[in-house]
């Protein structure tokens, strides 16, 4: 074991152990009473302390409390999360009936910022907060999905609904073509966005999204794509132990499937296609045994999924120590057979006042996830893609007990039986992660604190994949194979910083933070492969059982980051607010001389409503802010400044193995981080005693020195050509967040809405274009990134309907000089493409930008209401003004592929006037009717009822009889309905590759998102 890990582990254990020491309280003047909410329900667990003293208690299950105060002058402070704090003088009362009012939006609320907290009213940067309460008990594996639609300017781009699939988070647009994920800081520990879903959402207290430069510059060279700060729940001091159980279980089903042809229709239409092409019809299409409808492959593949979650938590605190311990199990069985994801998680947070001046504490998170990830992104082997295309006349299992196979004929395509694929798939990945940190905070003098944080984030990932021999499917494998890949990743963090808060006179407030931090990253893997396992039974799927060692590899990478940072906040009379931030980062990712980056940011705020002249009473708060700053992105491929030689090039001579070595990368010594510059203007307004809150921000975010993979001429060979810092990208947009909260008698409700209008533009590429991944085996180009356009626009031809007759072909000036027309290769029923360059030939010069996958607007709307014990929450989210390239339908209408077709082809052109959008069937590709064109671009806008929750909380008097202080039952639905024009399965489509953002919104028949219903309960003891 890593020695540092051992040390940290011991320390964490020690800290946890000490957190259980509970102190006893002294008592003098007795006082008792009840605490209830506005509806009269008793509130258990309300925190009560004597002001200026550490004496306190909490209310019982029935809302009752009793304690002794030092004297009748004492003032009792009642606090409860979600309610306004009350201060009540004891005077001569011996019993109190306290009614807690729900808090509205609190300007005094604290917001977590980098290396500290700030009062919401004082913030001059752009920060959005999500209350942990809003994302509790949703049927999602993690908080990234839960974040979807909740914050203006934060888009969670999902690429399918596979179990455990996390969305890709984009803050203020896609900031770079490279890794554009935000930095995620979990309880002060900077980590990667991929790992944020390791946290059980029910453990999250709040999520802060730092959107502008002023807020995020303190994280320097990792902040260019925004920062997400996740704070997990802690215990509270002077709080009795609270025990909570959350449990839910539910089912998920497919919302929609693709309508495809049945076997007789497929055969008939294939015959038509051959006839249209003037070719003999292959016998297989006349063979009656393949004209019997046998299998609906999508139906066979899609099953009912199950989602379950169980977690328990213990939270509380003594006078000096507080703790929060939780354990959780989440399990999702997807609706595609044999797809699953599960997660165990365990957390201990504790804080201790170790004396008057010293505070220490720790956060410990242990997670184990296990899942398989079926291939659902390939237009050659994807399982859902295959289920749409596999021949409907073939059986799942034939009369001999074998899986149905397309080996019978090349006419049935190179697809394996998708049920065979999911039944025999054996590819699991297990990840075990420890994220632990300890801190100590020493108050050196009044207002001056020194804090040190140390942490470790270690993950062990183990992928175990067994590939069986396949001899009766077309994509055969003649040897079985076991692949084991084992990865260890560590990140070690050390931070030291000083904070200084001081009030000068009565109007000048100064807050300073300055510190030094280092973070070290280590990544090491070994991978090994054996083949030739004589026995494929599960108990033989271990390396020792394989007869041939075919591969073995291993490597290590290390990164280091050394940084200093400082921030100053100054406010004058609560009216004028200034923030200045600076960070310097040294990164080992770059060659000496290009290592250090400097990131300044400034912002200012004016709280107009605090001015003496302000006399608009219904506007309780009005603040304007402006900010500017620079941020960096160092998350680019390592070692690009080195010329690498790749060994292991395999060949043989005379039947003996020979190993070759060749240059695998050409170096770029000048490589450095990408810089983003953000200008942000905002206004924040609260109306009618803060019942209405509105935030409006406008921003311009320019990414400079963007690293581009310039498309290289093939004559360079295959060596990787390094990226160069030559691109410029701009995102600009408007973000609006609105909230309204009100209570009428026992009925209270809350509505919040957000929307973002963001434009993305590649301003400079220094290259004709950037390439994107190609579609399917024919390597069809669908998207390009071009100067003056958003990244990843769709690139192809413009279609103008279908030639209805010979005369239209003869008279079309667009093909007047086209040899295809002269040779009779363009026929009625073929697509008419636009001859953009006017040369009378349809060729590659006629391609243009035909669509934009980025939404013009993304929005979310949440409404919740409660009446007596009932609560209701509705959450809608949507996108508008985006295009989808429905590549799956494009291929599904093309009879030249040896696959089953979309049912839409029954509406094909088959005679004058029969169709102007679906071309004739042909097995030829002479006119390339199904080339990339706007014929297959669809409006991808949608609005989705993402969540609906109806809950009921049992009146306290019933639940308390069985020792339960609060019992809530609820039903939650996810993806309940979607309003969209999109004809495919799901309009939420994401990025095709993990490596870059150069293709988006292309339908590959990804894993569809399910509709999920769960039933759950939350019990507090």
């Amino acid at each position: 074991m890593n020695p540092i890990l051992t040390k940290l582990g011991k320390m964490a254990f020690f800290l946890v152990f000490t957190s259980f020491s509970v102190s006893l309280l002294a008592q003098q003047v007795p006082i008792s009473g009840t605490v209830s909410d506005q509806a009269g329900n008793p509130l258990p667990g309300v925190n009560i302390v004597v002001e200026g003293d550490n004496v306190g208690t909490i209310t019982e299950v029935d809302g009752k409390f009793s304690l002794a105060v030092p004297s009748t002058d004492a003032i009792l402070v009642f606090t409860y999360i979600g309610y306004q704090t009350q201060r009540i003088p004891v005077a001569n009362q011996s019993t109190l009936a306290v009614v807690m009012e729900e808090s509205i939006f609190e300007l005094e609320d604290l917001v977590v910022v980098g290396y500290g907290v700030q009062k919401k009213g004082d913030v001059t940067g752009t920060i959005s907060s999500v209350d942990g309460e809003d994302i509790q008990n949703l049927p999602v594996p993690g908080s990234s999905q839960a974040l979807q639609g909740r914050v203006a300017g934060v888009q969670v781009v999902r690429n399918g609904g596979a179990p455990g699939e996390r969305g890709r988070i984009r803050i203020r647009g896609t900031g770079t073509i490279n890794n554009a994920d935000p930095l995620v800081v979990i309880d002060g520990f900077p980590t990667s966005a991929e790992t944020m879903d390791d946290i059980n959402p029910n453990d999250i207290e709040s999520i802060e999204v730092l959107k502008d430069a002023s807020a995020s510059a303190i994280y320097g060279t990792r902040a260019a794509n925004g920062v997400i700060i996740i704070t997990t729940k802690k215990g509270e001091l002077n709080q009795g132990m609270k025990f909570r159980v959350n449990a839910y279980t539910g089912i998920s089903d497919a919302v929609k499937t693709v309508d495809v042809l049945d076997a007789p229709t497929l055969a008939a239409l294939k015959r038509e296609a051959y006839t249209n092409s003037g070719r003999d019809i292959p016998e297989i299409w006349e063979d009656p045994q393949f004209q019997v409808q046998r299998t609906d492959w999508q139906d066979e593949l899609l099953d009912q999924g199950i989602t379950q979650n169980l977690d328990i938590s213990l939270r509380g605190g003594s006078k000096t120590s507080s703790y929060a311990i939780s354990a959780a199990y989440y399990n999702e069985e997807g609706m595609i057979k044999n797809s699953f994801f599960e997660r165990f998680s365990f957390r201990i947070n504790s804080d201790h006042q170790a004396g008057e001046r010293l505070k220490i504490g720790e956060n410990l998170q242990l997670t184990r996830t296990n899942g398989n990830f079926l291939n659902t992104r390939s237009a050659q082997t994807g399982v859902y893609w295959s289920s749409i295309r596999f021949h409907p006349g073939l059986p799942v299992i034939d009369e001999n007990g074998n899986y149905g196979t397309s080996q019978v004929s090349g006419e049935f395509g190179d697809i394996n039986n998708p049920i065979f694929t999911v039944d025999t798939e054996d590819d699991q990945t297990t990840a075990t992660r420890l994220l632990a940190s300890v801190y100590g905070e020493l108050e050196i003098a009044k207002g001056l604190k020194f804090r040190a944080n140390f942490g470790v984030d270690g993950t062990i990932t183990d992928r175990d994949e067994f590939l069986i021999i396949i001899d009766d499917q077309i994509r055969a494998r003649d040897q079985n194979e076991l692949n084991r890949r084992y990865t260890e990743e560590y990140s070690l963090l050390a931070e030291y910083f000083l904070t200084y808060n001081q009030l000068f006179g009565d109007k000048h407030v100064l807050n300073l933070v300055a510190g030094y931090t280092t973070q070290q990253f280590q990544h090491e893997f070994v991978a090994t492969q054996r083949r030739d396992f004589p026995n494929e039974s599960p108990d033989q799927r271990f390396l020792d059982a394989g007869n041939t060692i075919t591969d073995s590899e291993g490597n290590r990478t290390e990164d280091g980051l050394v940084s200093v940072f400082a921030r100053a906040n100054y406010s004058y009379a609560n009216r004028y607010l200034l923030t200045a931030t600076f960070r310097a980062d040294g990164s080992s990712r770059f060659a000496e001389g290009n290592r250090w980056g400097y990131f300044p940011a400034f912002s200012a705020g004016w709280r107009v409503s605090e001015e003496r002249f302000w006399n608009i009473p219904f506007i309780s708060n009005l603040k304007f802010t402006v900010g500017w700053g620079q941020l960096g992105n160092q998350d680019v491929a390592r070692n690009q400044f080195l010329a690498l030689i790749g060994s292991g090039r395999r060949y043989s001579f005379g039947g003996e193995e020979a190993i070759g070595a060749a240059q695998s990368r050409i170096p770029n010594e000048d490589i450095t981080w990408e810089t983003s510059e953000i200008l942000d203007i905002g206004a924040e307004v609260s109306l009618w005693d803060n019942r209405v809150l509105a935030n409006i921000n406008y921003f311009i975010k320019d990414t400079e020195d963007m690293l581009l993979p310039v498309p290289v001429v093939g004559s360079i060979g295959r060596a990787l050509v390094p990226d160069r810092n030559i691109g410029e990208l701009r995102n600009q947009g408007l973000e609006i967040e609105l909230g309204y909260k009100n209570t009428i008698g026992e009925f209270s409700y809350h509505v919040s809405a957000n929307a973002a209008f963001i434009e993305n533009e590649a301003r400079s590429l220094n290259a004709p274009f950037l390439e994107s991944p190609r579609y399917g085996r024919p390597n069809q180009e669908i998207a390009r990134t071009l100067e003056g356009h958003p990244i990843a626009v769709f690139w192809g031809w413009r279609a103008e309907g279908i030639y209805q007759n010979e005369a239209e072909i003869a008279n079309d000036p667009g093909i007047a000089n086209d040899p295809r027309r002269e040779n009779g290769l363009i026929q009625p029923g073929d697509v008419r493409f636009q001859d953009l360059d006017g040369n009378g030939i349809i060729n590659d010069q006629d391609r243009t930008v035909i669509g934009d996958p980025h939404p013009d607007v993304t929005y979310g709307l949440q409404a919740s209401a409660s009446y007596k014990g009932f609560d209701l929450t509705l959450f809608f989210m949507g996108e508008a003004g985006k295009d989808i390239y429905n590549a799956d339908r494009m291929q599904g209408l093309d009879a030249s592929y040896p696959f089953n077709l979309y049912e839409d082809v029954t509406g094909r052109w088959n005679g004058e006037g029969t169709s102007n959008s679906i071309p004739r069937l042909t097995v030829d590709r002479n006119n390339l009717n199904h080339r990339t064109s706007d014929l297959f671009i669809e409006n991808g806008g949608f609005m989705r009822l993402k969540n609906l929750t109806v809950g009921y909380t049992l009146p306290g008097q019933y639940s308390s009889r069985v020792g339960i202080s609060r019992a809530r039952f609820y039903v939650t639905g996810q993806n309940i309905f979607t309003i969209t024009d999109y004809s495919g399965i799901d309009p939420e489509l994401g990025y095709i590759t993990q490596e870059n953002n150069l293709q988006l919104g292309v339908d590959y028949a990804q894993y569809p998102q399910a509709r999920t219903w769960i039933f759950g309960l939350t019990l507090d003891f």
């Binding site: 080996q407 100590g440 043989s652 001579f653 070595a661 274009f769």
Partner: protein
């Protein structure tokens, strides 16, 4: 006191993590950089081995190189790559993905050869080994340009000085420039390469390989005497025809002296996909490149090469393992036939990945010399009859070009020669490719419109045109 211990231990750990001065130094663990390569002869041999590796690519001899031959009358494309239809029928667009396949593999070979030519002269190593290595690099570079030139015509020529200058985006060379580059590389290879290699090095190119390809170049250039001189170096060298035609296509004997150049394949470790493409689907293959009835009819009645080259209905084939002996039946193929030259099965079952892909055989050179003699007014009987005698066929006397055309067709069936032979013979008015391809002989030899202003070369891949920013120009007729 306890607090102090906690605090101090935290700092101890913190300092341990935090104050690492070397934190910003990046170590390329397990990676080799060009700074520590090229140390000795072993490095040079590794670099030379790597030049051969792209030959195995799916996009090169693994499959795609053969797709350029589907236009010919000997084979139907078969398979399920729908984009192949427009290649076979010459109606493709420059963006057809098959055109781009192999472009990069060939230039990767060129790049690796250039790396050896730039670096090997400065390495301290055995002089014979250096010569052999440089010779291999010259040959393989010349060979890559050869394949580029027969497919696309002129393409960019990237040489040592271009690599050093980082100059890769170049306009295409003329056909003559291509050929003179190929010739000069082959002549250098002949000077540097040994006559032969020991059995453990079988598969490395040698002097005979270079003379063989040079012969073919000269025949394409119609430099008859040069072709004859060069070809006779092969015929009179230690590269005799294998005793049996079939020896060239059976794993045990595929590295015999006749096989001047082939893609070396080793089961599991380094195989190629070619064997899978040419075999029937139910036998584990992908059913591409089906021989046509026209090819079958071309064989003389007594020619054993028909049976050796193709699976014929009624033939029993041992698929090994559980499948065992199977009868080849017509319903396994749409044309009724498959090539059997390119595949065999392990005794334990499954296609054997040790099957090499033939590229150049002495028999080909014999026929080229015979052709050069006939076309320069000499008698080519000796070389032609040597090839015929091996398979027990009667000798020809005063053989004509018609005999050569026939013999090349049956001897080299499926070996990626005929289409390119037809192109050069059409240019020399020996065959009429337009009429030949225009004939409608059913589904598997549909009428194809061959345009002499356009189709002697394939189109340059559209991607390369797009990224060259105007420097690389498309071939005539494809604009």
């Amino acid at each position: 006191m306890r607090k102090l211990v906690v605090l101090l231990s935290m700092f101890a750990v913190g300092l341990n993590i935090g104050c690492r001065e070397d934190l910003l130094e990046s170590t390329p663990y397990g990676l080799s950089t060009s700074a520590d390569f090229w140390r000795n002869g072993e490095d040079v041999v590794a670099a030379v081995n790597a030049i051969y590796e792209p030959l195995r690519d799916h996009d090169f001899y693994g499959h795609s190189e053969h797709t350029f031959s589907i236009v010919e009358d000997d084979q139907w494309r078969a398979g399920d790559h729908s984009e192949d239809q427009s290649i076979e029928e010459l109606t493709y667009d420059p963006s057809n993905p098959q055109l781009a396949a192999g472009w990069r593999s060939k230039y990767e070979m060129i790049s690796r050869a250039n790396a050896v030519l730039v670096n090997a002269p400065g390495v301290e190593m055995d002089e014979d080994l250096r010569n052999r290595s440089l010779g291999e690099a010259h040959f393989l570079r010349g060979f890559s340009y050869w394949r580029l030139h027969v497919i696309y015509g002129g393409t960019p020529i990237i040489l040592e000085e271009d690599v050093l200058a980082g100059n890769f985006n170049k306009p295409k060379a003329s056909i003559d420039e291509m050929r003179s580059q190929i010739e000069s590389d082959l002549l250098r290879a002949i000077e540097l390469l040994p006559v032969n290699h020991g059995a453990s090095e079988a598969g490395r190119v040698h002097r005979g390989t270079a003379y063989g390809l040079l012969t073919k170049l000269y025949v394409y250039q119609e430099r008859w005497q040069d072709a004859i001189d060069s070809g006779e170096e092969v015929i009179n060298g230690p590269y005799p025809l294998a005793p049996s035609f079939l020896d060239n296509f059976r794993i045990e004997t595929e590295n015999n002296p006749e096989m001047l150049f082939s893609v070396q394949a080793l089961d599991v470790f380094a195989s190629t996909a070619h064997r899978i493409y040419t075999t029937p689907r139910p036998w584990g293959g992908w059913d591409f490149h089906a021989p046509t009835q026209e090819l079958v009819d071309e064989f003389e009645p007594a020619d054993p090469r028909l049976d050796a080259s193709l699976f014929l209905p009624g033939e029993m084939v041992d698929l090994g393992g559980d499948a065992g002996m199977q009868e080849y039946t017509t319903d396994l193929s749409q044309t009724g036939y498959h090539f059997q030259k390119f595949a065999s099965w392990r005794t334990s079952g499954g296609l054997d990945g040790g099957q090499n892909v033939p590229i150049l055989r002495s028999a080909d050179v014999y026929l080229l010399v015979a052709e050069a003699k006939i076309r320069s007014g000499q008698n080519g009987d000796t070389e032609l009859n040597a090839v015929r005698a091996r398979v027990g066929l009667d000798p020809k006397t005063n053989a004509t070009m018609e005999d050569i055309i026939h013999e090349r067709r049956v001897e080299l069936a499926g070996e990626n020669q005929r289409y390119f032979d037809l192109l050069r013979w059409d240019k020399a008015n020996i065959v009429d490719i337009v009429a030949l391809l225009a004939e409608d002989r059913g589904n598997f030899n549909p009428p194809i419109t061959f345009d002499r202003n356009k189709h002697y070369y394939f189109a340059i891949p559209q991607r390369e045109i797009d990224v060259s920013n105007g420097i690389l120009e498309q071939n005539d007729g494809f604009l």
